[in-house]
C-alpha cells in the first residue's frame, strides 16, 4: 500500500460515504431527485487578484532584509487549520441541495511530537428553505443552513451562495477550535490563513497567520518588485494590510525557499501577527523560526509554502480524524 493510496482512501472516507447516505435518504422524498455534482470550488476559495496598498510600519522604503539562520521555537507550538468539502446531493426542482462537511482542528507540538488537542467536525445540508422543507422529513437531525430566498432560484447562483455558506461554516469552526485551544493553553498558535477572521485572534500576541495565497498584493510598482523578489531567507519590511479594517494586523512577506528558476510566488508566505511593538521587535526571530519550520517538507503540491505543522492538521482532518470513524466526535 503506497502512502498516496492511503491518503486517497482517507479522503473517500471523509466525504463520499456520508454524502452517499444523504442521497439514499433523499431518494425517498417526493419531488426530490438525487444528484451528483462536485462544484469546482469545493476544495477551497478562488481569490480575486488585486492590489490593496498597505501601510509600511517599519521605516520606508520597503526593504528585503535577511533574517538570519533558521532557528526553531524551543517551546510548544500549536497549529490550526480547517477543511471543507461539499457536493450537490439532490435537486428539488431547480434548487440544489448541497451537503457539506467542514472540520477544524488544533494540533499541539511538544518536544517535536504533534498531537491533536482540539477538533470539530460538522455535516450540513444547505439549500433554499423550500428545498430544505421538502427534505426535512427524510433527514431528521441533520443540521441545515437556509440560503437567502429574496431572489428567484437559479442553480448556479444558489451553488455560489452555498459555497459561501460552507466557507463561513468552516471559518466558524476554526474560530471555535482556536478559541477552545486558547482557553486551555497560551502557547504560540499558528493559523493557516489570515488572522482577520477574528478581532481576538488579530490582537492575540501569541498567534500567527500564515497566508499562502497572494491574490491580494500589498504593493504595486517598484515596491511590488521588491516584495515579490525577496531572496530566500529574507523578509520584507513590516506593513499593515489595509484590507484588515475590522481586525488590524501587522504583516510581512517571508521567502522560505529560493524562487530563482521557479514561480514568482514560490516559497513566499505572508506572516500576520498582532499589531504591536513586540511584533516589530520579534519579526526577525519569528521569521527565523518559520524558516526552521520549512523542515520537514510537506508531502503536498504546495510544499514550498505549506508548513509541516499545518499540513499535519490537514492530514488529520482528511483522514477522518474527529469523525465518527475516528477518535473523537465533538459535534455534528
Amino acid at each position: 500500500m503506497s502512502r498516496a493510496s492511503a491518503t486517497e482512501s482517507g479522503r473517500e472516507t471523509f466525504g463520499a460515504a456520508a454524502f452517499s447516505e444523504l442521497r439514499r435518504r433523499l431518494a425517498t422524498v417526493p419531488g426530490v431527485v438525487p444528484a451528483t455534482a462536485d462544484p469546482p470550488a469545493s476544495h477551497g476559495r478562488a481569490d480575486e487578484a488585486r492590489i490593496v496598498p498597505a501601510e509600511l510600519i517599519e521605516p520606508p522604503p520597503l526593504r528585503a532584509q535577511a533574517v538570519g539562520p533558521p532557528s526553531s521555537w524551543p517551546g510548544p507550538v500549536a497549529f490550526l487549520d480547517g477543511t471543507q468539502r461539499h457536493e450537490v446531493v439532490a435537486y428539488a426542482g431547480p434548487m440544489p441541495l448541497v451537503a457539506a462537511e467542514v472540520a477544524a482542528a488544533v494540533r499541539e507540538r511538544v518536544g517535536r511530537q504533534a498531537r491533536t488537542v482540539h477538533s470539530r467536525r460538522r455535516q450540513l445540508l444547505i439549500g433554499r428553505p423550500e428545498a430544505l422543507a421538502l427534505a426535512a422529513d427524510a433527514l431528521p437531525g441533520v443540521q441545515t443552513v437556509a440560503l437567502a430566498a429574496d431572489e428567484p432560484p437559479h442553480p448556479l447562483r444558489d451553488l455560489e451562495l452555498a459555497r459561501a455558506a460552507v466557507d463561513r461554516a468552516r471559518g466558524e469552526l476554526e474560530l471555535l477550535a482556536g478559541d477552545a485551544y486558547r482557553r486551555t493553553a497560551g502557547h504560540w498558535l499558528v493559523v493557516d490563513g489570515s488572522l482577520a477572521e477574528s478581532p481576538a485572534w488579530a490582537a492575540d500576541p501569541r498567534m500567527l497567520g500564515i497566508a499562502k495565497s497572494h491574490a491580494s498584493l500589498p504593493f504595486g510598482g517598484t515596491e511590488m518588485v521588491t516584495y515579490l523578489h525577496l531572496p530566500a531567507g529574507h523578509r520584507s519590511s513590516v506593513f499593515r494590510p489595509s484590507s484588515r479594517r475590522q481586525a488590524p494586523v501587522y504583516a510581512w512577506g517571508l521567502r522560505l525557499w529560493d524562487w530563482t528558476g521557479k514561480d514568482l510566488f514560490f516559497g513566499l508566505i505572508r506572516v500576520e501577527a498582532a499589531p504591536t511593538e513586540e511584533t516589530l521587535r520579534m519579526a526577525d526571530s519569528i521569521s527565523r523560526w518559520l524558516l526552521a519550520e520549512r523542515s520537514p517538507l510537506s508531502a503536498d503540491p504546495r510544499w514550498d509554502r505549506l508548513l509541516y505543522g499545518i499540513h499535519g492538521v490537514e492530514e488529520y482532518l482528511r483522514s477522518g480524524g474527529g469523525s465518527r470513524n475516528g477518535q473523537r466526535v465533538d459535534e455534528k
Binding site: S72, R112, Q113, A114, A292, P296, L297
Partner: protein, 645 residues
C-alpha cells in the same frame, strides 16, 4: 470459554482495498513506542469475535513524498539541525491468524483494537488449552513465548511429538550457536520430567556424531539466574540426566575407547560397544554398495548367516568341520573354500552353487568391515552391546560414533535402529517409547545421491515409527539438503539461527521476509517452532541445558591420552573395581599374548562380575610357557644293491 478482555490496546486493525483483512491475515498499526515485534502474539476483540494472531511482518513509513524532499528540507546537510516536528510515521504490522473464536463461521478479521496476548491468551491462541490441562494432560514444555515483558510457557503435545497422532522432530540451525544440540538436550530433559505417566515409559538413544557434544549429559552445567528463572517458569528441575549410559567402540588397539569421554572420573558409566561377526552379518547389506546388492550376493550372505556362522558346518569338499564364530574363523573358512576350488582346477569355479567371484566379493566386503571398523568389530567373538530388552524408563543411552569410519557409523546406525524397531515390535525393549536423536541428518539421509540402507531406514522410521513408539529427533544445518520425506514427516519442526542462503531457498518462502530476517539473526536460546497444534510457527526462548556442554566437559574432564596396552587394560578393569592395583594387573598380563588379554578383558567387561580380577584371570587361563622344539636327527635311507635306480 471466551477469555476476558484485559490489557489496554496497543494497536488498531486497519483494512484497505489494497491490503484487506482475510480469515487468515490482518494488519494493524501501533504507536512507535509499542512493544510489538516480529513473532509477537496479539488478540483482536471486535464484534463478538476474538482473533489471535502472530506478527509476521512489520512496515514503517512516513508521509515523506520522495527521498529528495528530505534532502531539500535539510538543505543537503545530513548533519543539519533537527526537524522541529517529528514526521508522521506509521508502524504497520501484518499478522497471521492463529485462531478465531468462535471458529465458525470462518470470517475475515474485523476492525478492532489490538492487544498484547497474556498467558491465557497464548495457551488459547496456540490451542494448548486442549492438551495442557484436563484429566490426561500431554503438554511438554518447550520454552517460553517472550514479548513485551510477557513470558508464557509454550508446550508441545506429547501425542503429536511421540505419537501416535503425529511424531518426530526436526531441527535446523547453523553450527556453533548452541541451537541444535542444546535444544535437543533441553527438550529431552523436559520430556523425561513431564512425559505423562499415562503414556507409559520413555527412553532416549543419542548418536554422538561429532566432537564432545553429547559426552557429558550426566554432569551438571553452570546455569545463570536467567536460566534458573526460565526453568522455574516452565516448572522444570534444572538437573542433568541421572540414568545415562555411554557406549563407544574401541580404538583399533582394542583396549583404548574411541571417545573423548576417557577421563577416569567418567569411566563408571562408559562402556565399550563391541560387536562380533553375527552382529555384523545380519546387517551386511549396510556395507554393500548398490552394485554389490544382487541376488547372488544376498544368497551367499544368507547361506553364511543361516548355515555357517555360529553353527557346526561340514561339507564333503572341505577338509574339516568348521565352527565360525569370529571374523578370523570366517576368513579361515573362506580360505578353505578357495583352496578346494583351486585344487579342483578347470571347472572349479562354483562351490555349492555359489560362484567364486561372488564368494570373493563377499569375503572382500566383510573383510573390509573388520578392517575399517576395527575396534567396533572384534575378531574373537566377544561382544558388548546395548541392553536390549532392559532399557530403563527415563534412561539415556549415548552411542559415541564420532571417531568411527563412516562405513562403521552406518553399520552402527543401521543395526541399533533396526534392533530398536524389532524390540518395539515385540514390545520387549523395556520401554514403551524410544527417542532416537541423529545429528547431521544431511549426511545420513541426504536429499540426493545414491539410495543407502541408512537413508531407507531413517525414512522408514519417519513414516512408520510413530506406531511403534520409535521417534526420530533429527538435526541438520541445511534442511534443504535432507531427504524431503524424512523432514516432511516430522510433526514438529524447530528452526534456530539459520544461514541466509538457506533461508532464500523456496522451501522457506512461506515465511515472511521479516521472519526470515529474524531467523538469520536469532540469538542463542531462541527458536522458531512449528507444531501440529500451532497454526503458525512461534518464536520461543529456552534455557541452557542443565548439563555440561561439550567444550566445558572437555575442559573439566580432559580425555586421557591414549595409553600403552597394559595400562589401558588396567584402566578398564579398574573402572569395574577401582580398588584394583594397576601394578597387580600389569603383573598378571605380563608376557601374555595381546589377543588373549583382550579376549579376557572383553569377557570381564561384558560379565561385570563382583570380583573382576579373579574372573579376568580365569578368562585369561594359565600361561603356557613357550617350548623350544629340538631338531631331531634325520633317518638315513637304507641302501640295497637290488635297487634298480
Amino acid at each position: 470459554m471466551m477469555p476476558g478482555e484485559v490489557k489496554q490496546p496497543v494497536g488498531q486493525v486497519v483494512a484497505t482495498e489494497q491490503r484487506p483483512s482475510t480469515p487468515h491475515q490482518f494488519h494493524f498499526w501501533t504507536s512507535r513506542e509499542s512493544p510489538i515485534g516480529i513473532g509477537a502474539i496479539v488478540r483482536v476483540d471486535a464484534d463478538g469475535r476474538i482473533v489471535f494472531g502472530v506478527v509476521t511482518d512489520g512496515f514503517a513509513y512516513s508521509d515523506l513524498g520522495s527521498p529528495i524532499h528530505a534532502v531539500i528540507a535539510a538543505d543537503g546537510d545530513p548533519a543539519g539541525p533537527e526537524e522541529p516536528t517529528r514526521r508522521t510515521e506509521i508502524r504497520l504490522y501484518s499478522a497471521a491468524v492463529l485462531r478465531q473464536m468462535p471458529e465458525e463461521p470462518v470470517q475475515p478479521v474485523p476492525l478492532g483494537p489490538v492487544r498484547m496476548a497474556e498467558d491465557a491468551d497464548v495457551a488459547i491462541a496456540l490451542r494448548m488449552d486442549a492438551y495442557v490441562s484436563g484429566e490426561r494432560p500431554t503438554g511438554v514444555p518447550v520454552g517460553v513465548y517472550a514479548t513485551g515483558g510477557l513470558e508464557a510457557p509454550v508446550y508441545l503435545d506429547a501425542d503429536f511429538l511421540l505419537g501416535p497422532e503425529a511424531a518426530h522432530l526436526n531441527i535446523t540451525g547453523v553450527s556453533g550457536l548452541a541451537t541444535k544440540t542444546s535444544a535437543v538436550e533441553f527438550l529431552l530433559a523436559s520430556l523425561f520430567q513431564k512425559f505423562p505417566v499415562h503414556k507409559g515409559s520413555i527412553a532416549a538413544l543419542c548418536f554422538n556424531v561429532k566432537g564432545p557434544d553429547l559426552c557429558f549429559l550426566d554432569r551438571p552445567g553452570e546455569l545463570g539466574d536467567e536460566d534458573r528463572r526460565l526453568y522455574a517458569r516452565l516448572d522444570l528441575d534444572p538437573k542433568p540426566f541421572d540414568k545415562v549410559r555411554y557406549y563407544a567402540p574401541y580404538k583399533p588397539d582394542g583396549v583404548n575407547l574411541n571417545t573423548l569421554r576417557t577421563n577416569e572420573a567418567l569411566a563408571a558409566n562408559t562402556e565399550p560397544l563391541l560387536w562380533g561377526l553375527r552382529e555384523v552379518l545380519d546387517y551386511a547389506e549396510v556395507v554393500l554398495n548398490r552394485d554389490d546388492v544382487d541376488a547372488k550376493a544376498d544368497a551367499f550372505i544368507d547361506f553364511l548367516a543361516e548355515r555357517v556362522v555360529g553353527k557346526d558346518f561340514e561339507d564333503p569338499t572341505l577338509p574339516r568341520r568348521f565352527r565360525v564364530r569370529s571374523f578370523a574363523d570366517l576368513d579361515e573358512f573362506f580360505r578353505a573354500i578357495f583352496h578346494v576350488l583351486e585344487e579342483a582346477g578347470r571347472g572349479g569355479e562354483v562351490w555349492r552353487t555359489h560362484h567364486i567371484a561372488t564368494i570373493r566379493k563377499i569375503r572382500n566386503r566383510l573383510g573390509n568391515i573388520s578392517t575399517r571398523a576395527k575396534g567396533l568389530v572384534t575378531d574373537d567373538g566377544e561382544v558388548n552391546d546395548l541392553p536390549w530388552g532392559s532399557f530403563e524408563d527415563r534412561g539415556l543411552y549415548v552411542v559415541d560414533v564420532a571417531g568411527l569410519d563412516p562405513l562403521a557409523q552406518d553399520l552402527v546406525f543401521a543395526r541399533i535402529v533396526s534392533r530398536l524397531r524389532e524390540h518395539l515390535e515385540r514390545r520387549d525393549l523395556g520401554v514403551d517409547h524410544i527417542v532416537v536423536f541423529v545429528d547431521e541428518l544431511n549426511k545420513y539421509a541426504p536429499g540426493d545421491g545414491p539410495e543407502t540402507y541408512v537413508r531407507k531406514m531413517l525414512l522408514d522410521i519417519s513414516e512408520r515409527g510413530r506406531y511403534l513408539g520409535l521417534v526420530l529427533f533429527s538435526a541438520q544445518q541445511f534442511r534443504s539438503q535432507v531427504q524431503r520425506r524424512v523432514v516432511g514427516n516430522s510433526g514438529t519442526m524447530i528452526l534456530g539461527r539459520m544461514d541466509g542462503e538457506e533461508l532464500s531457498l523456496p522451501g522457506y518462502s512461506t515465511m515472511s521476509p521479516a521472519t526470515r530476517a529474524r531467523l538469520a539473526a536469532l540469538p542463542k536460546g531462541e527458536l522458531l517452532i512449528r507444531h501440529p497444534h500451532f497454526t503458525q510457527p512461534v518464536f520461543v526462548r529456552f534455557p541452557r541445558p542443565a548439563v555440561l556442554s561439550g567444550r566445558e566437559g572437555v575442559e573439566r574432564f580432559p580425555p586421557r591420552p591414549e595409553v600403552a596396552f597394559g595400562e589401558a587394560v588396567a584402566r578398564r578393569l579398574r573402572a569395574l573395581d577401582p580398588a584394583l592395583a594397576a601394578g597387580r594387573i600389569l603383573e598378571i598380563i605380563a608376557g601374555r599374548r595381546e589377543d588373549d588379554v583382550r579376549r579376557a578383558l572383553h569377557a570381564t567387561i561384558r560379565a561385570r562380575p563382583d570380583q573382576p580380577l579373579p574372573f579376568f584371570q580365569r578368562c585369561l587361563g594359565r600361561e603356557v610357557p613357550p617350548e623350544t622344539v629340538r631338531q631331531q636327527a634325520a633317518v638315513q635311507p637304507i641302501r640295497t644293491s637290488r635297487d634298480p635306480y
